[in-house]
């Protein structure tokens, strides 16, 4: 068998292997085409219904207005606390500065 013939055989084998591979790849890619939509389990159905009832219960128990009122109250409370702490710190600083000034002016008088 000549070299040329061997080359041709080699190439045809390679080509057939390649086409086999391509065919397999296409088969795998198409394997999910016939997928059907599956039904949800009875357990999940019950979980969803339970979740639905709980949400309705929450909805009827807590109107949106109440939730916003509570949030606003918390915000006001935090702002008051923050202002009070700030005021107290400033007052303390002022007092300390005054007492230091008084002390030094007393020292000056003594000396």
């Amino acid at each position: 068998m000549s070299n040329e013939q061997q080359e041709i055989i080699k190439m045809s084998i390679q080509t057939s292997m390649e086409s086999k591979k391509e065919m397999w790849v296409e088969q795998v890619l198409d394997s999910a085409d016939t997928k059907i939509q599956i039904e949800i389990s009875e357990n999940l159905k019950q979980r969803l219904e339970r979740g639905c009832n709980e949400t309705i219960f929450m909805h009827s128990r807590m109107p949106l207005k109440t939730i916003w009122l509570a949030a606003a109250s918390i915000l006001i409370l935090i702002t008051f606390n923050f202002t009070a702490v700030k005021y107290a710190t400033e007052k303390k600083d002022k007092q300390e500065t005054n007492s230091t000034i008084e002390y030094f002016s007393y020292l000056e008088q003594v000396v």
Binding site: W24, V28, S31, K35, E49, C52, T55
Partner: protein
């Protein structure tokens, strides 16, 4: 499909409207979650979380898009959240060898998810396909799964993912190309 009247009833907390919503969308949401998460338990948990998110935020639905698009968007975000949580757990697990942190290699497609909706004769091939889909980048995986597995049209996928139609076309095209390469490598290593 829910009518405008039913959507309004839903916003007012009407129990019948909630039931109608669950009846209309639970199957679609569950199947989408299953196609994205490749795990039945995770898909069930995700479906429950999706509906609780839908119930609690129905008042924010303005009707700019279709209700189905809005629900699918919540589902995709929930699935993304679950997938990220899972990958975080894997990354920080002390028993995970360092080489697993690299992108999944092509010849080790984990083919272990058997989709219950696929006919028996195709299950083995489909498991390989799901393994390959799993190794795609997140957006490609989501867009491809929604189109190929759930049959959602391109324009709706674009609305769900908040991207342009051409971006979705390109994402799905690249996903197919990537899958072909991954599967060809898998074939060369395993089937011969």
């Amino acid at each position: 499909m829910l009518s405008q009247k039913e959507i309004e009833a839903l916003k007012n907390g009407d129990q019948q409207a909630y039931k109608a919503l669950v009846d209309s969308f639970s199957r679609k949401v569950y199947n989408l979650c299953l196609s994205l998460l490749h795990n039945q338990e995770d898909a069930e948990d995700a479906t429950q979380e999706v509906f609780s998110a839908v119930f609690s935020s129905i008042n924010t639905f303005k009707g700019d898009s279709k209700l189905s698009t809005w629900i699918y968007r919540i589902s995709v975000n929930k699935c993304k959240e679950i997938l990220r949580k899972k990958s975080r757990k894997k990354r920080f697990g002390f028993l995970v060898p360092l080489e697993n942190l690299e992108t999944k290699s092509l010849n080790t497609i984990p083919a272990n998810f058997i989709h219950p909706g696929i006919e028996l004769e195709n299950q083995e091939r489909a498991a390989i396909l799901f393994g390959a889909i799993n190794s795609l980048p997140e957006n490609q995986k989501i867009a491809f799964s929604m189109h190929k597995l759930e049959g959602i049209p391109y324009d709706e996928i674009a609305a769900i993912m908040g991207m342009s139609l051409s971006s979705i076309e390109s994402l799905i095209f690249r996903a197919k190309q990537n899958l072909r390469t991954k599967l060809a490598t898998y074939y060369s290593k395993n089937e011969q």
